[in-house]
């Protein structure tokens, strides 16, 4: 919360907290005023603003890894004091920070988590790769989809119901290699804010969550770099001032070399001989202070995954590639402590391409989604009300699954290329205010609208999928439009500075949907807009929570319960094949239904001291009902997980060594298994049961890591005075030793039934099999900074 002024508080302090050497802003730093009983954490830009009654105060600033600072200030009525706070990084001393009260209990914010990269980097990482999205999945209410699965689920919502923003631009596929790594290079990220519920009116577009990721700003003071060399990939980030104290840049790159590592191990003669895979990321940002409270930024992300297979035995070749191109630019103006303007425009393109050929046959499938987006927002105070208003507009250009195929001279008629054009917009207004000293309210209304326009060709098909009629719409012609009212409400009642209860309600519409053929999220999954066949998804979430601080704010604890109902969810009809979409509209293959999720989340977090970390436990249920699936019966969603536990801990053993570990436990994934079989042409046919009526074995895993930080200074003799002094080393480095899946549990990835032999000669038998992905995997990474 940036601004907060109560009645009779006619003074305030505001400003930014930064690193004293690099000038980089510090998000989540704690600002506490004991004799006003007030405190908060700085926002993602490192900013704070606290309303106070006139008087004398001691203001304490602190941040993990930095020396705290205390200021004594004196405020008169109507005075708004600007403070520029610089905290110095702790070098040789142990971390022993105590700070009190954030807005954990005092704000209305609930169902929200903020993570900074310092915390994320301490945790053991898969193959040594620190990953932002993987860490989010350790929070209660957020469930990892499992190994080899790109999606994640928030409070029972599907993988397409999470809005992932990178510097305010939308990211459609945030995973490399089926979710093993996210597209976010940890060195380039400032922090992330996750909204699971109680969504403020300025956010919308997706039912389940918003993950707001901000890229780091380059240092305006001096040129720096950091990077790492790991088992799977390496990365490098360079940053520095373009104009000292005014403008800065940051550029980060990462590339994997899995292809070089694995190729020697693949037998050329085997099925996999001739395989190649790689991914890369490149992101950057320019920031410019224009003066008089104005600033400008431009940010970009480019990344690709590519897989190539060229069989040495047959003439079969395939290439699969997918990638994101994102550019975002923004302007911010702080008019005064009461008024803040933010304007953002962005361009996002996600595309997926597949080509496969054998002899003279070539098949190509491409899908893409391109967004042009514009979003201005104004925040201002009127009396005791903090108001935010703004709008957002996005133009979507979507081409799902466009295919072409040739066999020698025969060109297959695959119909026209599909293209969907649509416009999405929303206008919102929210108000945050104190009803009383201890009762805070945030109410808002978001009104969203969506239109699908031409040019477009609609194929009318019968129940067998045969084309009956074709309707052609001209450019700009209206085909379908929707308008949705999205009221938002949250309130908190504070019993004391240590405890509060919060209640929230969120209603939202989602106009862009992901249709996936398999139970797992794949890059082949197709994004589709709402059309006259696909209605917007509607979600309503009710949440209530109790929040408590212990040990002077060192320990945060909460219990939160939620209930969600969802309508107009989409799935492919049963028995749909990828080729059914050819010469057809993709949305003709879909069927629609509803869902319900409810659960209770327990969370305890220790913020400071030698040992920090958190424990999260979620007990939940999420179900779906589609008339055309599972004979219309309710069934558990694929990602329904009754119990979900995460334990995360980091311990600073010595100045140089930090140990950390994570333990996760989840109820096994719901799957559909055959319950009986029969023979046709002497071949076994499986007869499947009700959807998702079986559970695989539970998933649990322990990861450990140890980080060794080399000394940050070295001892040298001053050539002039002869004194022995400590000088900061030019390059700081760390070695990270990690073990993924320490006790080598073979967690199930999926089950299937294998059959061998033939009925006639008595050798026939069916055996259930479990496929697991990752056994114990150690890794070493070397990270450096200069």
């Amino acid at each position: 919360m940036l601004f907060g002024i109560k009645a009779q508080e006619t003074a305030s302090i505001y400003g930014v907290v930064t690193d004293s050497i690099s000038g980089v802003t510090l998000p989540g730093a704690t600002v506490f005023i004991p004799n006003a009983n007030k405190g908060l954490a700085t926002d993602l830009e490192g900013r704070f603003d606290i309303g106070l009654k006139p008087g004398n105060y001691e203001v304490r600033f602190s941040y993990a890894g930095y020396n705290p600072t205390t200021l004594n200030i004196s405020l008169e009525a109507g005075e708004n004091e600007a403070l520029d706070i610089q905290l110095s990084n702790i070098t040789l001393k142990q971390v022993e920070i105590r700070a009190f009260v954030s807005d954990y209990t005092s704000g209305t914010a609930m169902s929200r988590n903020k993570l900074d990269m310092e915390t994320i980097k301490l945790l053991p990482a898969f193959l040594g790769e620190v990953d932002l999205l993987k860490t989010i999945q350790l929070l209660p209410g957020v469930q990892a989809a499992g190994e080899g699965n790109a999606g994640f689920y928030v409070r029972g919502g599907g993988p397409d119901q999470n809005l992932i923003l990178f510097d305010d631009a939308v990211v459609y596929n945030a995973s490399h290699l089926l979710g093993f790594f996210s597209v976010f290079n940890s060195d380039a990220i400032e922090g992330v804010e996750l909204y699971k519920g109680g969504m403020p009116a300025e956010y919308g577009e997706r039912l389940a969550s918003v993950i707001d990721v901000k890229q780091r700003k380059g240092s305006k003071e001096n040129f720096q770099g950091r990077g790492g060399i790991g088992v799977i990939s390496s990365r490098l980030t360079l940053e520095g001032p373009l104009v000292k104290d005014k403008a800065s840049f940051i550029v980060s790159g990462r590339r994997t070399y899995i292809d070089a590592l694995i190729t020697p191990f693949i037998n050329e003669e085997s099925d996999f001989g001739g395989s190649q895979y790689f991914f890369y990321d490149l992101n950057g940002r320019l920031d410019w202070e224009l003066g008089k409270g104005s600033s400008l930024y431009i940010s970009g992300y480019f990344g690709d995954d590519a897989f190539d297979f060229d069989s040495p035995q047959t003439e079969f070749k395939t290439n699969v590639s997918w990638g994101n191109r994102i550019i975002s630019a923004g302007y911010q103006r702080v008019f005064n402590e009461d008024v803040l303007l933010n304007i953002n425009g962005s361009f996002t393109k996600y595309n997926f391409g597949f080509s496969g050929s054998q002899d003279e046959f070539l098949l190509q499938v491409n899908s893409a989604i391109t967004d042009y987006r514009f979003k201005p927002q104004l925040s201002f105070k009127i009396g005791k009300h903090l108001l935010k208003t703004g709008f957002s507009y996005t133009f979507h250009d979507i081409s799902p699954n466009n295919s072409s195929a040739v066999q020698g001279e025969t060109i297959f008629d695959l119909g026209e290329q599909q293209q969907f054009y649509s416009h999405e917009g929303a206008f919102y207004l929210s108000d945050e205010f104190d009803l009383t000293d201890v009762w805070k309210v945030e109410a808002g209304l978001r009104v969203s609208a969506f239109a699908h326009t031409g040019p477009f060709t609609r194929y009318i098909v019968d129940e067998n999928g045969s084309k009956q009629d074709t309707i052609r719409y001209g450019s700009g012609e209206a085909i379908a439009d929707y308008i949705g009212w999205e009221p938002r409400f949250s309130t908190s009642y504070r019993f004391s500075e240590k405890a509060s209860v919060k209640v929230s309600f969120t209603q939202n519409y989602q106009y862009i949907h992901l249709a996936n053929l398999s139970p797992l999220a794949l890059p082949t999954d197709v994004w589709l807009p709402s059309t006259e066949i696909v209605q917007p998804q509607l979600g309503r979430q009710y949440a209530v929570g109790y929040f408590r601080l212990f040990d002077g704010g060192n320990i945060e604890a909460s219990v939160e319960a939620y209930y969600k109902e969802m309508e107009n969810l989409i799935e492919y009809k049963e028995n749909t094949q990828p080729s059914d979409g050819v010469d057809n509209n993709e949305d003709n293959l879909l069927t629609f239904g509803r869902g319900e999720s409810y659960g209770i989340e327990f969370f305890v977090k220790k913020n400071f001291g030698k040992t920090t970390g958190w424990v999260g436990y979620t007990l939940s249920r999420t179900e779906r009902q589609f008339d055309e699936i599972n004979a219309g019966q309710w069934y558990p969603a694929t990602f329904d997980r009754t119990h979900d536990i995460s334990v995360v801990a980091a311990h600073r053993l010595t100045d140089k060594w930090t140990l950390s570990g994570t333990f996760v436990f989840g109820t096994g994934r719901a799957i559909t298994l055959p319950v009986s079989g029969y023979f046709v042409e002497n071949t076994l046919v499986y007869n499947y049961s009700e959807r998702n009526s079986f559970r695989m074995r539970d998933y649990h895993r322990l990861d450990l890591s140890a980080t060794y930080s080399t000394s940050e200074t070295k001892t040298i003799t001053d050539k002039v005075t002869g004194e022995i002094i400590e000088k900061r080393k030019r390059i700081q480095s760390q070695w990270v030793f990690s073990i993924y899946n320490v006790y080598n549990r073979l967690n199930p990835y999926f089950y299937y039934f294998d059959n061998q032999g033939q009925a006639a000669n008595g050798t026939f038998q069916v055996q259930a099999k479990q496929v697991s992905l990752f056994p114990i995997l150690p890794a070493i990474t070397w990270n450096f900074q200069f």
Partner: protein, 316 residues
């Protein structure tokens, strides 16, 4: 059909997973499911209808040949266009009729001894082009019905063997045909290696449909095209010639029959999803789906075929 390329994609594209993956046998507790009647029936031009009736089985029930043979029902009443079919059991047939019965029921002759099936044969009905056939089965106090028809024939312009991908010995069968200009023409192909041959390859007792045998004209309606097919082989075959490098290939010197059929639309839906299930079993990327049946009150298929046979000698 080459769209099986998509299946291949899912099978091999994500090698990274398979490279790092482990597989193990597990025990799963599956509660017993209600038993259902299964019909496997077909009628072809110039031949009598043949219907097999069986029941579904739990996976972990005993699987000796006798147990499996016991799941076939011999006391049902089966009618095609209201003419009753005759129950014929392999165990009761004279030896000279067994090869014909084997081909009719789709079980190799050598297996019939151990798997003595019973089938229902229409001795007074012979399939004709462009004719509909209704099926009615009375079994276990249930009435099960279905309908199919034999489409008009589509005769390939030519079918031949062709060596594949620089191999000096192995290849596939190719056929060139013209699809009629009407919508939803479906096809199914079969192969059968016969003697004499010059390479000692074992001959097949019955026809086998290769993977990708079933396809629809949705992408080539009204055009002529050339398509290649693998050699069909028995399910889970243990014959050396069906495993290893030779699997799915014909060899120079083979003599084989290529059976090219137009199939009724319900038959197409069944066999398309049947092959889809076969091709994706074991893949995590495909949703498990039941095979589409056209049997009302049961599972399985009642299909109509109009077929053309071509004997081919594999030469370079």
């Amino acid at each position: 059909m080459e769209f099986s390329i998509l299946k291949k994609l899912f099978h091999i594209a994500f090698f990274g997973l398979l490279f790092a993956s482990c597989e193990k046998d597990i025990d799963i507790d599956i509660p017993p499911a209600e038993s259902q009647i299964v019909v496997e029936g077909s009628i072809e031009n110039g031949r009598p209808p043949i219907v097999l009736i069986s029941t579904t089985r739990g996976f972990f029930e005993p699987t000796s040949p006798a147990d499996i043979a016991n799941s076939y029902i011999s006391d049902a009443s089966v009618f095609v266009n209201e003419t009753e079919l005759t129950a014929v059991c392999a165990a009761d047939l004279p030896e000279e009729l067994l090869p014909q019965f084997a081909e009719l029921v789709g079980v190799p002759l050598e297996d019939l001894d151990d798997l003595p099936l019973c089938g229902y044969v229409g001795q007074d009905i012979i399939g004709e082009f462009n004719t509909s056939y209704k099926l009615r089965v009375e079994v276990d106090n249930q009435t099960i019905t279905s309908a199919t028809h034999i489409p008009n024939p589509v005769v390939p312009d030519s079918s031949y063997f062709r060596l594949w991908a620089n191999s000096p010995r192995y290849g596939y069968v190719f056929t060139r045909f013209s699809d009629p200009d009407t919508m939803n023409n479906a096809y199914r192909v079969f192969t059968k290696r016969i003697g004499p041959n010059t390479n000692d390859n074992p001959i097949d007792d019955i026809y086998y449909a290769p993977l990708g045998s079933t396809f629809l004209d949705e992408f080539f309606n009204g055009t002529s095209l050339e398509v290649g097919f693998q050699r069909g082989q028995p399910f889970n075959s243990s014959r050396p010639v069906d495993n290893g490098d030779e699997a799915g290939f014909f060899e120079l010197g083979d003599r084989f029959v290529f059976k090219f059929c137009a199939i009724s639309e319900p038959g197409y839906q069944f066999y398309r999803t049947f092959e889809q299930q076969l091709g994706t079993n074991g893949s995590p990327f495909a949703a498990p789906n039941n095979v589409i049946t056209n049997i009302d009150g049961g599972l399985g298929v009642w299909a109509g075929y109009s077929c053309v046979y071509d004997t081919i000698f594999a030469t370079p």
